[in-house]
């Protein structure tokens, strides 16, 4: 296993170098000189070119680009001059993660559940309705869907706030920064999620089906209460509630936009595994229908869904463009947009690099996860 992981890492490293070369080629293939639009005189332009290393031969620039990338130096933003790109992106990424990671998990759970149900009742009206709704939500134009949600829930019904990350009136004289609080909330939710997984893992040992169910529900309530008490004791709960209220509408929009794909993949995978021999065996044993569906078919059908989730997760930085624009959620998408408006190429390339690194990490993780989820999978170099 270790040998396989090392081999995979080496391959990923080569891929990463190639990816950086591709980005370099992409940016140098464009007929563009960063210093062409300076309003200063030619001597200043020559100075800038020397500063950016644009007067060097191309291969020297290429080697410099690679060596800087290997030191995690993504360059310096043009727009906010001395600030390094990695710092700019790192400051904003917790906001994007809070919105899109939670939305991805929710959409994934919803999609799996709906896919399970519609695969089991193939050909009924329920399937047509759910499929049509899911496909329509998945293919709807993202800004338009956000706009509809804002109009209905934010403007017409006035249930939820629909703009920005926080309400400035609530945050007047607040004792913490937004990003600090967001990080705390993010850590809290991760801890809660992991604890719930632990409870679920322990409850699997209980033989009684109902007892297991009750244990899980009880654990969930305890975790929720613990988090609530912790936050109310810290005295920052009113700020957290403000952020959560602002989070709801964008979250709902992203979930609506993305659950359809998971649902369709889950349905296809369920239908493919439905006729396997072990399902027939389970039926012959006289197991209840729900047990066959949830424990025998769904567990084997979940591999393609997890694949898709892992492959799509890094691209949430791209999806953030639209939704963050519509809801004025000031995070990575805003950085991308201002970079586009001010032609801030280093920031854009930095985003592409980060997406590439995250995607590669996801691919390696997926390969390792496969051996755990499907014990039949064997790779070269594994014993």
């Amino acid at each position: 296993m270790l040998r396989f992981i090392i081999r995979r890492m080496v391959r990923a490293f080569v891929t990463l170098i190639l990816f950086q070369s591709l980005l370099f080629a992409l940016i140098h293939a464009l007929p563009y000189d960063f210093t062409a639009f300076t309003l200063q005189g030619p001597s200043w332009r020559a100075f800038m070119q020397r500063q950016l290393g644009l007067d060097l031969p191309l291969w020297t620039q290429y080697l410099r680009w690679l060596s800087r990338f290997l030191r995690f130096d993504l360059g310096v933003s043009f727009q906010n001059w001395p600030a390094p790109v990695s710092a700019i992106l790192f400051n904003r990424i917790s906001r994007t993660l809070l919105l899109f990671l939670s939305a991805a998990i929710l959409a994934y759970l919803l999609g799996i559940w709906l896919g399970k149900v519609i695969a089991w009742r193939r050909g009924g009206w329920l399937e047509f309705g759910v499929t049509l709704g899911g496909v329509a939500a998945y293919t709807s134009f993202a800004p338009w869907l956000g706009f509809v949600m804002i109009n209905i829930f934010g403007w017409y019904l006035r249930w939820l706030p629909y703009q920005r990350l926080v309400n400035p009136n609530v945050w007047f004289n607040a004792p913490v920064m937004i990003d600090t609080l967001l990080t705390q909330m993010f850590i809290t939710s991760v801890i809660g999620f992991v604890t719930f997984l632990l409870v679920r893992h322990i409850s699997q040992r209980i033989k009684n089906y109902r007892g297991r169910w009750i244990t899980q529900a009880f654990g969930l309530v305890i975790i929720g209460m613990g988090i609530g008490i912790w936050w109310s004791r810290s005295g920052l709960s009113y700020l957290a509630i403000d952020i959560l209220a602002h989070l709801t509408l964008p979250l709902a929009t992203v979930v609506l936009l993305s659950f359809g794909e998971t649902m369709m993949i889950m349905r296809t995978a369920m239908l493919e595994t439905k006729h396997d021999d072990y399902v027939l065996t389970a039926r012959a044993k006289g197991l209840p229908d729900a047990v066959i569906r949830d424990r025998h078919v769904a567990r084997n059908a979940i591999l393609p869904v997890i694949t898709r989730l892992a492959l799509n997760l890094p691209f949430i930085l791209v999806g953030s463009l639209v939704i963050e624009r519509v809801f004025m959620w000031q995070a990575t998408g805003e950085v991308i947009f201002s970079a586009i408006e001010y032609q801030d190429i280093p920031v854009l390339l930095g985003i592409l690099s980060i997406v590439g690194i995250l995607a590669l990490a996801a691919h390696i993780l997926l390969d390792v996860l496969y051996t755990y989820l499907d014990p039949r999978v064997r790779y070269l170099g594994m014993d």
């Binding site: 591709l22 496909v135 134009f141 296809t268 493919e272 006729h275 190429i345 854009l348």
Partner: protein, 318 residues
């Protein structure tokens, strides 16, 4: 092998040829039947047909019914109406936008762009993925290593951001959007899927039988590998249309492609003078293109899903 051509009569040849043709026909016909059995597939096909009619009707309407000075999708202006974003009337069935252009005419003209973008992207993506993935899977070895190395790099590229960077520096036209999207998807994820499918296909007994019977490499590829990949190719093509049209709409919604007609551009221009939350002035400018994007992509998605159901043997109703 001895020369047998003279011993087989012409009638025999014709009969074999016809049987071969009929086998193809029967294959097509039975799959068509299976496709039509699915209500959602039929619905998608009808919607695509309606969109095709919309795209075709625009030049005809421009020649016959619509006056070119008033109804031209990009430079038309109706001088007889005074305050210009007007709500739908009998004269302008979907109203006019704030530059005095007929919304319906723009909608129909943009349908052509969407079809072109989708089809060009799909053809490019599918061609590339079949060539690269098929070659990597069939030949293996060094070819596999090199081609899959390229695929591993391209799968990391998000097409919208690459196009946004290109749009900063170049004038984006629709063929460029379609080609860039097609290349990125074809070289990336699709090639990897096609490769794994080819690997599964390569070890099937009938390939071995064809090779044992003396079939050349070209024969095996043409007669067995490529038809085996056909079903995957069709499904990929249909889903590429969805992605390409959504990406193109996104780019034009952000105002990066203002040089051709597109649904995204219509929404973008409508928003420039839009009273954002009240929907009072201009709902008729925003609503039709947004719905058109949704219905167009849904139609292709539903057809792709139904095709997947027909062409994937493990999904057939048993």
């Amino acid at each position: 092998m001895t020369q047998q051509g003279s011993s087989v009569s012409t009638r025999e040849k014709i009969r074999t040829y016809l049987q071969h043709q009929w086998a193809h026909r029967r294959w097509l016909y039975s799959h068509w039947e299976l496709f039509l059995q699915q209500p959602l597939g039929r619905l998608g096909l009808i919607m695509i047909f309606i969109f095709g009619l919309m795209a075709l009707s625009h030049p005809i309407l421009m020649e016959t019914v619509w006056n070119r000075t008033q109804f031209d999708p990009s430079i038309g202006f109706d001088i007889t109406i005074m305050p210009h974003p007007t709500t739908p009337t009998w004269r302008h069935l979907l109203g006019t936008d704030n530059f005095g252009r007929d919304v319906l005419s723009r909608l129909l003209a943009s349908t052509q762009t969407s079809f072109l973008v989708g089809i060009v992207a799909a053809v490019i993506a599918v061609t590339i993925s079949t060539l690269i993935g098929g070659a990597a899977g069939y030949f293996g070895g060094v070819v596999d290593a090199i081609l899959m190395g390229i695929s591993d790099v391209f799968v990391l590229l998000p097409a919208p951001i690459v196009l946004l960077i290109f749009g900063l520096l170049l004038r984006l036209e629709w063929p460029m959007v379609a080609i860039a999207y097609g290349v990125v998807t074809g070289l990336g994820g699709q090639a990897i899927v096609v490769k794994s499918h080819t690997l599964k296909l390569k070890v099937k007994p009938f390939i071995e039988a064809a090779q044992a019977a003396g079939g050349s490499e070209g024969h095996v590829i043409r007669k067995h590998i490529l038809p085996g990949l056909l079903s995957l190719t069709i499904v990929h093509a249909v889903f590429t249309v969805v992605g390409a049209v959504l990406t193109e709409s996104l780019l034009s919604y952000f105002g990066r492609t203002q040089y051709y007609l597109s649904w995204g551009t219509m929404i973008w221009i409508g928003q420039q003078t839009f009273r954002w939350f009240t929907l009072k002035g201009q709902w008729h400018v925003i609503l039709p293109p947004a719905l058109a994007i949704m219905l167009f992509c849904s139609a292709f998605y539903l057809v792709g899903r139904a095709l997947d159901e027909v062409l994937n043997p493990r999904l057939r109703v048993r």
